[in-house]
Symmetry: C2
Subunit: 160 residues, 2 copies
């Protein structure tokens, strides 16, 4: 464990911005469950936005227990040692976002720029934005290079 | 939800065999946590083998509560809609495997064939194999193509 230098912070910011999907951990009947989600980071990484269907298991899970863990993992590029792939786990609580306020419009615009194919979800009543408020994070920049981060550490990496 | 046809079963088997890393969900102080692991499926998919360091958080978690969820997600290839990526979540209980019996040697050989760079972990005392015994699974072959599977369903896909 150590403080992040500038290059490490830049690698973290690139990972969070460049990947598009993540593994969402929720509680289901008291046991962990993991599923795929598309995500959009807030510009300052203080929260991560998800667009969830109320029909999905993970959404049902979050309505029962807001605690969530989101692992953003560098896509496997076939390198000899996949343990060197960069990844960060963000932990916090998730809550649905209000529909149709000013923040909703900004998030919708950014979401559609990142996921143009998801336009249809804005015509379906069962989808809404959720925001995962990040409490802390664990960044593994590569084998043995682990950084435990607070939410302010993450924001410093986002704004560097 | 529907039974798997032959093409879907083949897609599931290819996903489990071709990916090398997965997102492991464990319980940490009662909350979900997700981390990256390399994995090796048993030939019949009845269990998934992991090589874990006892120093890692997820290993500490599994020693407290064996329940685990492992999401194997097709690596993002930059397609327009990442929600169409195939993924399967395997749920069950994880336990350490005995060292140095005949099964250990077979798993070690297969592990080194898949992860040659991990040879060093066989010289370190803190690594051991764990086996996630699969109880059930959820396969999302693509948007809206979800299959809830029993362990025997998975084995049928493995042996097809």
């Amino acid at each position: 464990m150590r403080a992040m230098d500038a290059a490490t912070a830049a690698a973290l910011a690139a990972l969070v911005r460049n990947e598009r999907v993540a593994a969402l951990g929720t509680l289901r009947a008291g046991a962990p469950d993991v599923s795929l989600v598309a995500y959009l980071p807030a510009p300052d990484f203080s929260s991560i936005r998800l667009r969830l269907s109320r029909l999905a298991w993970h959404t049902q899970d979050l309505r029962c227990d807001a605690r969530a863990s989101l692992a953003i993992i560098q896509a496997d590029d076939g390198r000899p040692d996949p343990q060197t792939l960069a990844r960060v786990t963000l932990r916090g609580e998730a809550a649905p976002m209000p529909d149709a306020d000013r923040e909703f419009m900004a998030v919708k615009t950014a979401w559609l720029a990142r996921f143009p194919e998801s336009a249809v979800t804005f015509e379906l009543a069962d989808f809404s934005f959720w925001s995962l408020a990040v409490r802390d994070a664990r960044f593994v920049a590569g084998l043995g290079r682990t950084h435990n981060l607070s939410a302010p550490d993450l924001t410093r990496a986002a704004l560097a």
